[in-house]
Structures are given as structure tokens and as C-alpha cells.
């Protein structure tokens, strides 16, 4: 199967994730969409790695997972604290600062 298809899939996932970020209100969901984008990147990396026949891509993929995990830690911490003080995880509610 033509490896380029993996790339198409990756871009598709990436776009879906991005769209989710743009349209979803709940911070958690938005965050999950970001994760989806990261996974799309991973897919692309791995696909390229196979095509080039070297391991760099796959290594990056591993790093990405770690980073994603770290982001989850930090992100959830922030979102939860926000939720606790506002009793809402909607990103639209968090708009004290504007203009």
C-alpha cells in the first residue's frame, strides 16, 4: 500500500484535531483534540521514517509521546484548577481579559 496514503491519513487527522480545537468549548475536549493533532504528527513521522528507511522519525515519535504526557500533566493541572475555581471547564467562560 502506497505509504503516501499514511500521510494523507495523518493530515486528515491533523485537520480534524485542529477543527476540534476551533469548534469545541470544553477545555478537556479541546485539549484532547490537540493530542489528536500530536498523534497525527506521530503517524506522519513514523510513515516518513519507514519511507526513508532510517529511525529518526520513530525516535521523534517516542519523544512526542513523552512530551504529550508532560503536556497532559501540566494541562490537566491548569484546567482542573480553573474548573475548581469557576465550576466550568468551558474555554468561552474564561474571557475576563479582552480588548
Amino acid at each position: 500500500m502506497n505509504p503516501v496514503n499514511y500521510l494523507y491519513l495523518a493530515s486528515l487527522l491533523f485537520t480534524i484535531g485542529a477543527t476540534g480545537v476551533l469548534i469545541r468549548r470544553n477545555a478537556i475536549v479541546v485539549f484532547m483534540c490537540v493530542e489528536l493533532m500530536l498523534n497525527a504528527c506521530n503517524l506522519a513521522l513514523v510513515a516518513f521514517s519507514r519511507m526513508h528507511g532510517n529511525l529518526d522519525g520513530q525516535i521523534i515519535a517516542f519523544f512526542t509521546m513523552v512530551v504529550a504526557a508532560a503536556e497532559v500533566v501540566v494541562g490537566l493541572a491548569i484546567i482542573v484548577s480553573l474548573f475548581r475555581s469557576r465550576h466550568s471547564a468551558s474555554v468561552d467562560d474564561a474571557s475576563l481579559m479582552k480588548l
Binding site: 485542529a18 480545537v21 476551533l22 469548534i23 468549548r25 479541546v30 474555554v91 468561552d92 474564561a94 474571557s95 475576563l96 481579559m97 479582552k98 480588548l99
Partner: protein, 648 residues
Amino acid sequence: MENLIALLVAAPLLGAAVLLCGGRRLDAVGHLIGTALAAASFVIGVVLFADMVGKDAEHREMGQHLFSWIPVEGFQADVAFQLDQLSMTFVLLITGVGSLIHVYSIGYMEHDERRRRFFGYLNLFLAAMLLLVLADNYLLLYVGWEGVGLASYLLIGFWQHKPSAATAAKKAFLVNRVGDVGLSIAIMLMFTTFGTFAFGPVLEATGETGEGKLTAIALMLLLAACGKSAQVPLQSWLGDAMEGPTPVSALIHAATMVTAGVYLIVRSADIFNGSPDAQLVTTVVGAVTLLFGAIVGCAKDDIKKALAGSTMSQIGYMVLAAGLGPIGYVFAIMHLVTHGFFKAGLFLGAGSVMHGMNDEVDMRKYGGLRKYMPVTFVTFGLGYLAIIGFPGLSGFFSKDKIIEAAFAKGGTEGWILGSVALLGAAITAYYMTRVMLMTFFGEERWRSRPTASPAEPSVEPAAEHHGEHAEPHPHESPRVMTIPMIVLAVGSVFGGAYFSLGDRFIHWLEPVTEHAHGHPPISALTVTAATVAVMVIGVGLAWLQYGRGPVPVAAPRGSLLTRAARRDLLQDDFNHVVLVRGGEHLTRSLVYVDHTLVDGVVNGTAATMGGLSGRLRRVQNGYARSYAVSMFGGAAILIAVTLLMRAV
């Protein structure tokens, strides 16, 4: 000897400096210092004169170079003096009459607390006037020119607390400025044409340039002359200038300063000779003015304004003469000198009358004063005879010569100018007789009436002693005032005869302003006869009107012409409507433009910036997702553009 020339100017200048900076501690002696220095200057003048007469006609001109004034690449202006017969004539006239009037003022200004300053100003005037006539180049002359303007400004407005006086002073200065523009442009033209503006080089080089240039220069000089000598169309200030103390009117606005224009024209003879057109214009200006002034003089009830009108018209004669070229220059100057005598005398007389009449100036409230102030009456009378050209008196000689010369111009011009001059002579006789009769003859209209109308509060401190509403007690003025009048009277009686017997004056001035004998189409005798005839007619008319019957205290409405003449032939109204009003509108609208348009653009830009900012910041709506949108869009554009750049 040359080195004395500077002293002529220095003496009165020193006086001015001392008196004006000296402060109150000089109040006691101020007038004496001033008079002394004026007299000193006169003495120096006489000494120089003696020396000059000693030499033969060709070597009489002398000069003194003081220092280089404005040395700039290609532009040399020096402070240097030139004393020739022409200047000398003026020096003697200025310092002589000036000194007399200083003396007169001692009495006239006695009760004025600011007498010291008055003398300071008078000295300043003398200095400036002498600088004017002694300068050896036009730029330095310009300094004196504006200097006398300043002095006249200060003196007209001497009683500054009187709004009318302040306004008159301002008006005089402004109108003169217009003339001065003419002079400065003339100087620039000389500079660009001849590369210099010293009398000698310029006047020698006139031959080397075209007539057009000369005409331009000459007309500009004429404009300047009109301003200073109150010739139409710049005459309007002279009447108002009578707001100043009477000695000022006598010295500045009759004898000396106002004749500076004539001096300028005669001094620039070569330029005018080079341009017949300019000369024609000059004669026309003179002719028009001499009628204008005369007519105005007939209508005024204010004695000083009547005399002012007459001054205007007499100077008209001089300008006319000067415009005639070599046949007229000498007579212009001669009339200038004689006029200096009798007009100064007349003004001093008028002042003396006012002095005795609680400063009343309205001749309709005079009458029969000859009994009360005999000296004034006599001196004034002699001056009167002189000015109307009573045979044998000075005015007769000088004016008659001018009328001859006018006819001698030849052609229709000659006839027109000559007859105008004749007509002027008739009118002169008329209005002067009117003044004479209304003031010294007839019933005593000043009795049993409230004095000076409260509307115009009397201003000279002298009056305050008399009290406002008390009936005036006409009295002769003190010696210190009468003596100068007498001296001037003598001058105005014999001056003319002395000058013209054996053409003394002609020979005296010929080396400077070469003289040509005019040949009038009609014999000189006829002209003289005509002159005398019209004079008699004028006197007669006046007698019929003011001598026989009583003169009404309230001025009758009078004919249209009279009413126009009372208002200076509406010329002021014209100025007011066109210049003053128009100017006010112009400035007001410009102020508006500056504020709304020029400034508005600036503030407008700031405002639009603010508005733009206000609109743009709405994008920052606080919603994280919309921020994400802008990022996403941005990324998309970034990618698209990069790809497109490559595609194209």
C-alpha cells in the same frame, strides 16, 4: 571741518539718549538740555555753512566716512555722510526751525509732567532728520527716513492716554510704512541694477541702464515720498497727526519731516530726469494733492486741521515742481524753505491761540482774538500774507516761480499743471483768509458758552488749571513762546525776497541740482499778475463769506462737497471700508482656517488613529477559540502564500 558733520547728528542724539534714559531726576533740567543740544547742532550747522560759503561753488561738497556698516559679500553699506549745498540747506532749516521750536515748547509744554520725554523725542527727531539729509547712501537715508517716522509716531501719540492720539500715531506709522516699502524696493532695484546704493555711483551710472529700470526705481521713490510727504494717495495720516502737541505739528508735520519726500526726489534728480514717465506721474501727484489739500483746508473748522490741509497742498506744489525736472528742483526747495518759515510760524501761532483758549481748536468758537493776543495776531498775520503769496513776501516769490515752471513744462501738460497751480493759489488765499477771519476778527464767539465740549475732555494738564467749564480768558502767550514766532515771522517776510534777488538760491543749489531756465508760453509777468489776481479773488470770496456777516457757532450742514471735504474727501472712509474691514475679515477667517483646517488635519489624523485602534482591538474578544482561529487562518495564509510565491 568734515569731522564736524557727525557732530550735527551726534548732538541731538546724545540729547535723546540722555533725556530718555536719564529718568525723573532730569525732569527739572530736561527741556534745557534738549534745547541746548538742538541749538548746539544749529551752531555747528552755521559754522559748516560759513566754511562752505567760503569755498568756491565747485568744491563745496564734503563728506565724512565713519565706519563700514553692513559689509557682506557683494553688499557694502557704510555709515558715511555727505554735506553739499542741498543737505546744508536742510541742515540749517532743520536745526534752525528746530531750535526755535524747542524754545517755544519750553513754554508750551510747561505744565506737562512728561516734558522731559517730550524734549527727548524732539531731539531724537532732529537726529533722525539730520541723518536723513546727511546720509551719503540710500540705505542710511532709509534709517533716518524710518527714524523720523518713529519720532513722529512717538510725538503724535505723545498724549497716549488719549485713544484718538494713539490711533493717529499708529495710522501715521503704518501709512508711512507703506511708503517705506517703496523706498526699500527702490534700494533693492538699485542694488540689483548698479550693485550699489550710494548716491554718487548710482546717480552717475543712471545713464548706463534702460529707462524702464529708471522708471521703476523712480516710481518706487515717489511712493516713498508720497508716504512721508502726505501726498495722494498716502495723505490720510497727516490730518490725524494733528493730535500731537502743536509744536510737533509745527516742526515735523509742517516745516521739516513732511518735506523729506521732496528732498528724496530732488536728491534723486538724475533718476527722475532719466524717466519722463515717472516725472509726469510725479507732477500729477503733486497737482492732485495741492488741490486735494486745499479743498480739505477750506472745510475744516479745526484750526490745526485746516493748516494741515494747507501743508498738504503746499507740499503738493513742491512735488509738482520737483516733478518738472531741472526747471523746478530749485524752486521746489526754495518753496520748501520759505514754507518751512511761514507754516511753522502759522502753527506756532495756532498753538499760541490754543494756549490762550483752553486748548480749544474749533475756529467757530474763536473770534475777535486780535485784541487779546496782539503778538500772535501780527506774527500769524504775516505768516498768512506769506502763504497766500502777498507780493513781496516769501511765499509770493517761491510759489510764483513754481507756477511759472509749471506753465514752462510746455504743451497741454504745461497748461493743465499751470492752471491747476493757479487754481490752488486761489483756494489757498480763500481758506487762509477764512482761518484768519474766523480766528482774529468778527464777534467773540467764545463768550457765554460752556467751553470745550465734555465729550472730548481737555487733555493738556495746562487746561486742568483753568478748570473745565470756566469761560476762557484769552491772553498772550509768554515770551518764550512769542519770540520764536517773531523770528519765524521775520523769516517768512524776507526769506523769499532774499533768496530770489539775484537768483541767490538758484546759484547756491545749481551745482547739486543743475538748473534750467524754463520758458513759459506766457510771459512771467502775466503769470505773476494772474497769481496776484487769483489771490485777490480768493481773499475776496472768503471775506464775503466770513468777514461781512457773523460766523455761526454750529457748523452749517454745507454743500455735498463741503461735507465730503470735512471728511477728507471720504478717503478715510474708503480706507476704513476696504482696508480695515477687509483686513479684519481676512485675518478672522485665516485664524479660523488655521484652527480648523491646518490644525484639524493634525488632530484629525490622531483621531482616526484612535478610531482605527478602537475598531481593531475588538478583534481581541477574549475567546481563546477565536484566537486559535486567527492562528489557524494565519498558518493557512502563510502556507498558501509560500506555495503561491513558488507557483508564480
